[in-house]
């Protein structure tokens, strides 16, 4: 006996589920994405997963992406470089055209991107996720050459900066001083310097327990401060000294040869290993395209992430001015989706979709000791501001909560696998 295929039922089901016909009739939209980090890779992945009719080209000079998140665990001896390095093959398999070249310039009027290798790409919509530039010279004596001796390890590139800092920590004798210079807001990854302090302490406690960490900060306070300082006291005793800006913590000058960090009021701190996290701005391509304002960062429509200064260019990730949202990988990734969905809608003469932006930043303070900050944000109706949803989000509870800390450390690892799996898987 054969069961006849219920054609009418299948056709009805297919009709209910098929993508709306008008979308298919449109000419294919050319989306160019500059930058293959948390913003750009998420944008390319989201576009291909949800809008398979869109042509996506990703421009990224690095052959593989080394994440900033979990770079601090490498410094702590808990990860190797291969574990935080991701290939672009997964995006290629999703149908993204990946070009390993540097985007040299954007012509917003002609809607073209010029590549350093001479090629030129036309786009209907550009997703610009170029990341940050380090402001060489903002700290006197700290330029690109100086970073070869005093690493910043804040723009991972091929990973060499993070590996250099790790090697210096390994070479330091027990009893040495690790000095950090931490910038004023805004900068990439607000809790990052403090997780870094934690992970360096984690390494030193095991291998060089007489050593000290001197954290010189331009600010008076920082992200998850109470939680970090609780953890530092509990895990590392008096190993860590944090000096805020109002106690002469702001580093204004470095002497690379002498390994001296000099603060605003002339105190000279001689250290054995120095990690300089300098002041930052949007990456050069955004500034050279005239998209940044005099802060050095890019103002955007808070609903579509279209740059205020140029139609058709959506700026996401650490380069933009995100209102109350942090410059984090998670925000880069969730706003990437909204930017792509908005770019497609606007190209088709529709309004950007309703938006909700979501952030979770985990930090490792020590072994099985994780803390977090959560934020849920919405743009206002006219795209001029972003507000955090009242009574939501916030940081982990304080107090002696070992089970919570252990779970959050586990969840941090799962976060890393999930978000990079989405971006590159």
């Amino acid at each position: 006996m054969t069961n006849p295929v219920p054609r009418r039922a299948l056709l009805a089901a297919a009709a209910l589920l098929a993508a709306p016909a008008p979308l298919r009739a449109q000419p294919s939209l050319r989306l160019v994405v500059i930058g293959g980090g948390f913003g750009g890779a998420s944008a390319a992945s989201f576009a291909r997963r949800n809008h398979p009719d869109v042509q996506v080209t990703l421009v990224e000079p690095q052959r593989a992406f080394v994440t900033c998140p979990y770079g601090n665990l490498l410094l702590g001896g808990e990860r190797r470089i291969g574990q935080i390095t991701h290939s672009y093959d997964g995006l290629r398999a999703r149908g993204v055209t990946v070009i390993h070249d540097r985007a040299a310039g954007v012509d917003a009027a002609a809607r073209r991107v010029r590549l350093a290798g001479g090629q030129s790409l036309s786009y209907d919509r550009l997703i610009l996720s170029p990341g940050i530039a380090l402001r060489w010279g903002a700290i006197e004596g700290y330029d690109e050459a100086a970073a070869g001796l005093m690493p910043h390890a804040w723009v991972p590139g091929d990973g060499s900066q993070t590996l250099l800092l790790r090697r210096q920590l390994e070479a330091m004798p027990d009893g040495g001083v690790v000095g950090l210079a931490i910038p004023a807001n805004p900068f990439r990854c607000p809790p990052g310097p403090y997780e870094r302090i934690s992970m360096i302490a984690h390494y030193l406690k095991r291998h060089k327990p007489r050593s000290k960490i001197l954290a010189l900060d331009a600010k008076e306070g920082f992200s998850k401060q109470g939680l970090f300082q609780d953890g530092w006291r509990a895990l590392y005793g008096d190993m860590i000294e944090w000096v805020p800006g109002n106690r002469d913590g702001k580093v204004v000058r470095v002497d690379v040869r002498e390994r001296v960090l000099e603060t605003e009021f002339g105190t000279r701190h001689k250290v054995d290993v120095a990690n300089i996290i300098p002041p930052q701005s949007a990456a050069a391509i955004a500034r050279e395209a005239g998209l940044a304002n005099d802060t050095g960062w890019v103002p955007v429509d808070t609903r579509s992430f279209e740059a205020r200064a140029a139609a058709g260019i959506h700026v996401i990730g650490d380069a933009n001015i995100p209102g109350p949202m942090p410059k984090s990988g998670y925000i880069a990734s969730t706003t990437a989706r909204q930017a792509v969905a908005s770019a497609i809608a606007l190209h088709r003469g529709q309004n950007p979709p309703e938006a909700v932006y979501f952030n979770t930043c985990y930090s490792h303070v020590g072994e099985e000791y994780g803390i977090s900050v959560v934020g849920i944000f919405r743009p206002n109706a006219d795209g001029t501001a972003i507000v955090e949803v009242p009574n939501s989000g916030g940081v982990s509870p304080r107090g002696d909560l070992p089970a919570q800390r252990r779970l959050e450390a586990l969840h941090a690892d799962a976060w890393y696998d999930s978000i990079t799996g989405y971006m590159f898987g």
């Binding site: 069961n3 219920p6 039922a9 299948l10 949800n50 979501f358 979770t360 989000g393 779970l407 969840h411």
Partner: protein, 100 residues
């Protein structure tokens, strides 16, 4: 016979159409995209973090509502759920309940 075949095959056809990366249900609601950063691509879960794909819609709504009301213990989900509206919770639950 045709009636029974419809009963058997239609759900299977629906499941087939809804499965896989090109799930014909269209783009996920953007509120659900926010979950994927921890709960894994397609909400499949990650080590120590619950899978969302294929869970019962009403169960997901109940869990999120309890987190929001501070009636369910957790590490960060209470802080998260308090940021979402009823409509977003419903859309998120609907989306993940339809994934396999």
């Amino acid at each position: 016979m045709i009636v029974s075949a419809v009963r058997i095959i239609l759900p299977a056809a629906l499941a087939a159409l809804l499965a896989g990366p090109a799930a014909a249900s269209g783009p996920a609601p953007l509120a659900a995209e926010g979950c994927l950063g921890c709960h894994g691509p397609e909400g499949r879960g990650a080590s120590g973090i619950a899978a969302l794909a294929g869970r019962d819609r009403a169960e997901l709504v109940a869990i999120l509502t309890a987190f929001r009301a501070n009636e369910r213990p957790g590490t960060i989900m209470g802080r998260i759920a308090r940021g979402y509206t009823d409509a977003e919770i419903a859309a998120v639950a609907e989306h993940f309940s339809r994934l396999r």
